[in-house]
């Protein structure tokens, strides 16, 4: 039991038998989801959960054919809802560590090791990927402006100062995954996760990750207008409830 046995190549079993689940929320991502799942499997991860959030395209079958487990929302409920569904499923299936990953190919599967390492070492319950801690991510200027706006907004509303609050690359220990409850169905969940980390006193650590910006991901990303709408909805909810 105390010998460190990496069976990383065979399955998603890590030192001391930690089961790693990769959760990927996906909405109309048939163009990229196949290769994303493939690349994860090449790195030795076998428990890949794609949450198809009511896609109207072939996301579901593409994910399935590439060897992912698929949990399918019948109606589109938003990325926050899909993440929570994936985490619930992974916990039920016995996951020890849950990594959330984007469906559009922005994240690098080889960085999962670094993401889960603080959790394996017991240094943190939650790892948050940050594109601003490393220099490789070529964040477009306008995108950076919006993201830093999100960082500032999250700081003002939750009191947590992080370098990158709106990054879908995160890792959770089983304990953290069970405690976390995302109630914001749509994009507001990013701030909510940070808020819950504070309220539930979950030890967290930011881990530098690289984000690949492609024409595709740029099209799929949030526009500043949408970002403003998200901020408005968060404030509205804070006032109303």
């Amino acid at each position: 039991m105390f010998t460190v046995n990496y069976i990383n190549v065979v399955g998603s079993v890590l030192p001391m038998g930690n089961k790693v689940f990769i959760v990927i929320p996906a909405f109309n991502e048939e163009a990229t989801i196949g290769s994303v799942v493939q690349n994860l499997r090449k790195k030795g991860y076998s428990s890949i959960v794609v949450v198809d959030d009511g896609s109207s395209d072939d996301t579901l079958s593409v994910a399935k054919n590439n060897g992912a487990r698929v949990v399918a929302h019948r109606l589109n409920r938003g990325q926050g809802a899909a993440l929570q569904t994936g985490m619930d499923y992974a916990v039920l299936e016995g996951a020890d560590i849950i990594v959330t990953f984007d469906a559009d190919g922005q994240h690098d599967p080889s960085e999962i090791k670094e993401m889960i390492s603080p959790i394996l070492k017991g240094e943190a319950e939650v790892s948050l990927g940050s594109r601003f801690l490393s220099k490789q991510s070529n964040v477009p200027f306008f995108k950076k402006l919006v993201l830093k706006g999100g960082v500032l907004f999250t700081y003002l509303t939750t009191g947590m100062l992080l370098s990158d609050t709106h990054n879908g690359f995160r890792a959770f220990s089983r304990k953290a995954a069970r405690e976390l409850r995302i109630t914001q169905d749509r994009m507001e969940h990013a701030s909510e996760i940070i808020e819950q980390i504070r309220i539930k006193h979950l030890k967290h650590k930011e881990v530098p990750v690289t984000i690949r910006y492609t024409e595709y991901s740029r099209k799929k990303g949030q526009s500043p207008l949408e970002a403003a709408r998200i901020a408005f909805r968060i404030l509205l909810r804070k006032i109303m409830t």
């Binding site: 698929v70 929302h73 019948r74 109606l75 809802a81 619930d88 499923y89 509205l236 909810r237 109303m240």
Partner: protein
């Protein structure tokens, strides 16, 4: 416009509002008959609309309230109260919709997880 004389002179505006109120009341009554709304809700709307009619024909009735609240004109009291009422209803609607959305998500999530776990076995 006929000032405070009850049925002294009736303006076009008063007739139009009266017709609208009667229409709104009939809708509420019909929905109550169809059991779409509760008796409480019906009474609430009845009070609101009949109150509107009373103020419409006897605007001076709002004066004592205005004086009590230190608001200059009676009509202002009505406008302020209406705005408060509208905001309250908006708030209730917001809470309701939010709750409904959460319930839908819960149902979608449950069925998705159940189906996924069943298909694996």
């Amino acid at each position: 416009m006929g000032d405070s004389l009850l049925f002294g002179t009736v303006s076009v505006f008063q007739i139009a509002v009266t017709l609208f109120v009667l229409f709104a009341l009939s809708r509420a009554l019909l929905r109550f008959k169809d059991r779409k709304i509760s008796l409480g809700t019906l009474l609430f709307w009845a009070v609101v609309w009949i109150g509107a009619l009373v103020v419409l024909y006897i605007p001076s009735i709002t004066m004592p309230v205005a004086r009590m609240l230190n608001i200059g004109r009676g009509i202002d009291v009505v406008v302020y109260l209406s705005i408060i009422l509208v905001y309250y209803l908006l708030f209730r609607m917001y809470v309701r919709i939010e709750k409904m959305e959460q319930n839908i998500t819960q149902a979608v999530r449950q069925s998705a997880i159940n189906a996924a776990r069943k298909s694996k076995k």
